[in-house]
Each structure stands twice: as C-alpha cells, then as structure tokens.
C-alpha cells in the first residue's frame, strides 16, 4: 500500500519547513542566493509584491519557463503562486511538479466568490488568512498550511502582527469555550465547526502557520516567531534591500534564534538599507491586497 497526496503527506512537508524562511525569488540566480543563505524553500514568481503594487495591472501565475528554471537551480522545495480561485493555473503548477502552491492575494483574484477546491490536488496548498475564520475556511477547503496575509509588498509588519494577534486571541477563545458555546463561535467566526474541534484537539491550529506580508528585518522575523508563528515568508523584503544575500542570512538566523536578543543584536548590525516601505494609511482601500478572497 502506497498513498500519495494524503493530508498527512501534504501537511508533513509544511511541518518540515517550520522554523525556516521561505523567500520570494524571480530568477534562478536569486533562488541560488536564497538557498545559500539557508532558505527552507523559495517562492517562484514573476514580480515581487512591491513591484506588483507599484506597477499595477493584472498579476498572474509566473511563466512555466521561469518556474522550471528556478526548480532546476535549487534542491530546496519550490513554491509558486496562483490567483485566488484559479484552479487551472493550479493544475498547470501541479503538472510542473512544484512542491507547494500558494493561492495568493498578492496576485489578482480570478474568482470573485470561490477559492480552489484544494482536496482535488496531489500538490499541497498554502493560503493566507487575516483571522481564524478565514484560516479555518481555507483548511476546510484542503489547505495544508496557513500564513498571515499581512499587507504584501509594504515592508511594514503591522498588518501581519494584527492578523497573528487576532488569530491567537480567537484560538484562545476556542480553547476556553465549552461545547455549547462552540457552534455560536463557529457562526461568529465563519469557521467550520469540525475545524474548531480539530483546534481543540490539537490545542492550536491543526496545520503550520507562517508569518507573511511585510516582514523586512531580522527583528520583524523574531517578533513574528515570538508571537507564535511557525516560520517566516519574506516577499519583497530581501531582494528590495541593498544587500540581499546578507539580509537573507540574517533573517534565517533570526528565525532560528528568535528568542536570543544577544544573537539578534549581532546579526541585525550592518545589513545596509532595508526596503523603504509604505505606511498602511497611504494605501487606498481599493489597492489593499489583504481584503481579497472570502
């Protein structure tokens, strides 16, 4: 008996990525830099979120040629993004044998109402969430890994912090609720009841939860890890900084030694300029990425 694509196999890869950093890359060369810095995986995409934000237009799945180039360049797992609801893009990435698919709000959504039925796929999915209800809905659709949405491409950690704190608070509420309260909580959160039961059984979210959306410094990574995240996605934060290789290494170190301020002080020094960043208040409502998806 051999079973592929089981939920345990899908969530198992996410478990192996814990305590690690997943970096956005747009070329094979960047992928090598990420791997040599100690990234546990890379996210292959056409443009980093900061450029998508700046340039506008419709952002889609990367060209398969690019994804393959990156897959050939490194031995660590390669992830790639599809538009929310775009199951055909996901079918293409599965055919390319990427290791994880990110159904991502960074790209322009393809379906106004529905996310992908992720149970249909052998390749596992990661999805963003702003709160526990969103995380539970994605898990019920088959996501095997969750990340905060934050506000991508801003270099501003505040939204990722907001999302993680809210999820923690809501998980505490689920864990302290008695059975009779749980259905109302399910209704309030918009969370499937069976996933809330799974949270109670596990004492935490039943899948790995990474931080994403705005992480730009080792201190940002350490803060998100101390808030209880299992690992870190860095999008624009590395390759929009002045010394990507050095910053990448520092963020990897910070994710492992997140609770050792002496080490953090040492690795945070002399990294050059971080990406410049955007205040959330300056982003027009219509350009917010985190509100995409249901």
């Amino acid at each position: 008996m051999v079973e592929k694509g089981t939920y345990r196999v899908k969530s198992g890869l996410a478990e192996m990525l814990k305590g690690g950093v997943i970096m956005d890359v747009t070329t094979a060369e960047q992928a090598k830099i990420a791997e040599e810095a100690g990234a546990v995986a890379v996210m292959a995409l056409e443009r980093v979120p900061a450029d998508i934000r700046a340039e506008g237009g419709v952002a889609r799945m990367a060209d398969p040629t690019k994804v393959k180039e990156i897959m050939d360049a490194v031995s660590i797992p390669v992830m790639a993004k599809v538009r929310i609801g775009h199951f055909a893009e996901a079918q293409i990435l599965q055919a390319l044998q990427v290791d994880y698919i990110d159904e991502s709000e960074v790209l322009t959504p393809a379906d106004p109402d529905y996310h992908i039925d992720k149970w249909e796929f052998t390749v596992p999915f990661v999805c963003g969430a702003r709160n526990l209800g969103e995380a539970c809905r994605r898990i019920a659709e088959g996501a095997a890994m969750i990340r905060t949405k934050g506000e991508p491409g801003t270099g501003n950690v505040i939204e990722a912090v907001r999302h993680m704190r809210l999820m923690n608070e809501q998980i505490r509420r689920v864990l302290s609720a008695d059975e009779s309260e749980l259905m109302t909580i399910a209704k309030d959160f918009g969370a499937p009841l069976e996933i809330l039961h799974a949270i109670r059984d596990a004492g935490r979210l039943p899948v790995v939860n990474f931080a994403a959306g705005g992480i730009a410094t080792p201190a940002d990574a350490a803060m998100m890890m101390q808030l209880g995240c299992d690992g870190i996605f860095v999008g624009s934060g590395i390759f929009k900084s002045s010394d990507p290789a050095r910053r990448a290494r520092a963020i990897v170190q910070a994710t492992t030694h997140y609770n050792d301020p002496d080490i953090l002080a040492e690795i945070s020094a002399g990294l050059g300029e971080a990406m410049s960043g955007i205040a959330i208040e300056q982003i027009p409502e219509a350009e917010m990425m985190q509100t995409r998806g249901k």
Binding site: L13, G19, G20, I76, T122, P124, V252, T256
Partner: protein, 196 residues
C-alpha cells in the same frame, strides 16, 4: 533520562511530542551549551541545507566527536543526511557519524511523497512510514545493519550508536521507533555501568 532534539529548524515539536508521550524528558539543542546533561540526540527532519548552515562548525565538530565516542543519535530524513558519511553533491559530510552514502530527494519532488507500511527488522511488520522528499541510502558500510527496505532501497539503518530513517516516524502516532532509540540509550548506559 533527558533526550535532546536538535532545534535549529524542522519538525522539532513532533519529535518532542513522541518522546514525551513515552515519558521521556526532552531538551531543545540549538548550540553546544545545550548538549550538557542529555543522554541522546534526535536530529529531526527539515531542510538539510538550511540546518547545516544554521549549525555552527564547532557544533558539528562536537557532534562528530560525541558520535565517535558512542553517544546515541537518531536522525530522520534531513537528520539522516547530517549523520551520513557521504552526501551526494556535497563536498564533505556534515557530521559523518554513520558509514553510509545518501542521495537527497531521492524519492522525487513533493508530488511523489507518500505514506506506506514498512516491515522493520526487530520492531514489527506494520510500521507506518511517511516519506517526504525523502533521501535514500546509496551505499551501506560493512558495519551498518539495514533495518528496513522500500522498493529495494535501504530506508532505515543502524551502526552501533547511530540510527537513521529516510522517513518520519514522528509524523505518526506509532512510537515504536522512538522506543527502540530509547532502548539504544539504555543499552549504552548499562554498558557504561558494567565498565564502572
């Protein structure tokens, strides 16, 4: 008895949970200072390149020395790669505590990851095993005992005080392989007492 779990990156929490379910105290090891007071060390799965970059040269050196002196170590997946004498594509071994050669990601990409039931020598005929982008053993040293095979490849082996698996017992509820490793630690302690 306290068992250390190398906690630089990877499935650390799962090993801690399996060991604690067996009533064992655990300690997360991130640096050399954390090695004091432990009787054995588990090297978890994760990304072997990341873990090897996060481990300081002096930590790897110290682990190599400890393994040579008979200290019990158990590596799963990436942990097996760290413990192997030869790693395909790597210029030199990381710890090199067991005389085997391994090939990284030998089972392919994630779409080829799988779970199955294995017959494990001395443990049972029905051991659940989860393989995730798993490495396989490509060369087996003379003193290394193969303990499980999958499709003709060695996926679990032991040489004296060092145990390795390509797969992830820590992702299952089955505790037999962890119990076997604790047995290795006890054997070692008894042998030591015998000497004294």
């Amino acid at each position: 008895m306290i068992v250390g779990v190398l906690g630089l990156q990877g499935a650390v929490r799962e090993h801690v949970k399996s060991l604690e379910r067996l009533g064992t105290d655990t300690k997360i090891v991130k640096g050399e200072a954390d090695l004091d007071g432990i009787s054995g060390l588990v090297l978890p799965g994760g990304e072997s390149t990341a873990i090897s970059l996060l481990a300081s040269g002096s930590l790897l050196e110290r682990l190599r020395r400890m393994a040579g002196e008979g200290f019990p170590m158990f590596g799963t997946c990436a942990g097996m790669i760290l413990l192997s004498r030869e790693v395909d594509g790597a210029p030199s071994p990381y710890i090199g505590a067991i005389d085997i050669g391994v090939r990284r990601n030998a089972s392919g990409r994630q779409v080829d990851s799988f779970e199955t039931i294995l017959k494990v020598e001395g443990i049972g005929e029905d051991v659940p095993a989860v393989f995730i982008r798993a490495p396989y053993v490509t060369r087996l040293g003379e003193r290394v005992v193969p303990m499980a095979l999958y499709a003709g490849a060695v996926v679990m082996a032991r040489e004296e005080n060092v145990l390795v698996t390509s797969f992830h017992p820590e992702l299952t509820e089955d505790l037999r392989i962890h119990r076997y490793f604790l047995g290795m630690i006890e054997e070692k302690d008894e042998a030591k007492e015998g000497e004294g």
